[in-house]
């Protein structure tokens, strides 16, 4: 079978999309083959580790996507990074008509399967990567080590929780409410004046 990086990447993106809509448990290699219009044999060819491997790569895909957004926007300051992060999630819930959330959170709220906790460990890494990017930016803008770490953790946690609230409320109101107070917190720990 010819290798195709595009086909592989399409399958990983498809897995991330399935997980952020229906959760990890309801996602299967067979369903993914159907979802991404790929023969089942190809799916196992690209992902010999089966569902666990696919879930890990789907989480890493979502991790990298959000990390790239943060890395691009944080150089203009932590408030800018925060707002871009929130806008990214607002687009996810709106574009999916409130049917999709964050695949990393979806994996984090389910017990590890019998074949190990690799997807959950990838989720922990994703949360950590985003927190580190935000904390570095907060520190660079004057926050103390502890303020930077705590504030970055609150931002990631609050946005993840808010995305879930938006889905069941079928409204972006929780995100709009959350971002204002997270910005207040960022300004408080960096000593930045409100604009």
């Amino acid at each position: 079978m010819a290798e195709s990086p595009q086909a592989r990447e399409r399958m990983v993106a498809g897995a991330a999309d399935m997980i952020r809509r229906r959760g990890l448990n309801a996602t299967s290699v067979r369903e993914l083959a159907k979802h991404s219009n790929t023969p089942l044999g190809s799916t196992y060819h690209y992902f010999p580790g089966g569902k666990s491997q696919l879930a890990v790569e789907a989480v890493q895909f979502a991790d990298a996507l959000a990390a790239r957004k943060l890395a691009k926007e944080l150089p203009a300051g932590p408030v800018n990074g925060l707002r871009a992060f929130v806008d990214m999630w607002r687009k996810v819930v709106l574009d999916s008509d409130f049917q999709a959330g964050c695949p990393v959170l979806a994996v984090a709220v389910e017990d590890p399967a019998d074949d190990g906790d690799a997807p959950q460990r990838a989720a922990a890494t994703a949360f950590r990567n985003w927190t580190t990017l935000l904390a570095d930016s907060l520190r660079a803008h004057g926050a103390s080590d502890i303020d930077a770490e705590q504030t970055a953790t609150v931002i990631v946690a609050a946005i993840e929780g808010t995305v879930a609230m938006c889905r069941v409320e079928r409204s972006t109101r929780p995100l709009d409410q959350t971002v204002d107070k997270l910005e207040l917190l960022v300004r408080a720990v960096t000593g930045a004046e409100a604009t």
Copy 2:
């Protein structure tokens, strides 16, 4: 079949426990009967609406549990309520060795099933109930309407997100970090001095 409120309540608590560990999709009436040591027939007797009814009642059970905790602790002030809420979740993740989180969040991150979105609507109600209790307390302690509503939303969202982070990190560190900054926010909007 004789009615037994105790048996019924045990099944609802069992369903909440399954959902907060493995998610809604992996929870079934059949598994619950096994999990709570109840004949399958009794389960359907008490819950003729099947899984959807069970999920709604499990979410309402978790909703009421957290609401009771908040209603008990908030009269001593919003910081006290916040700390009690966080302590409750810390106990959930520690007592389960990081295997259990919040059943409301678990339901909120999954697509509604074919038989309707009643569990997701119950989840939206739970988030709203907790937010309202916190917002009322913040307002009673001097926060403006908008500050109270936004801060209450951030608290619920951040704690829900943090519980998921604790599970995959297998540590309560994220909760410990989050609560300090949420307290800062509460003090900022109520004008309370740090103690």
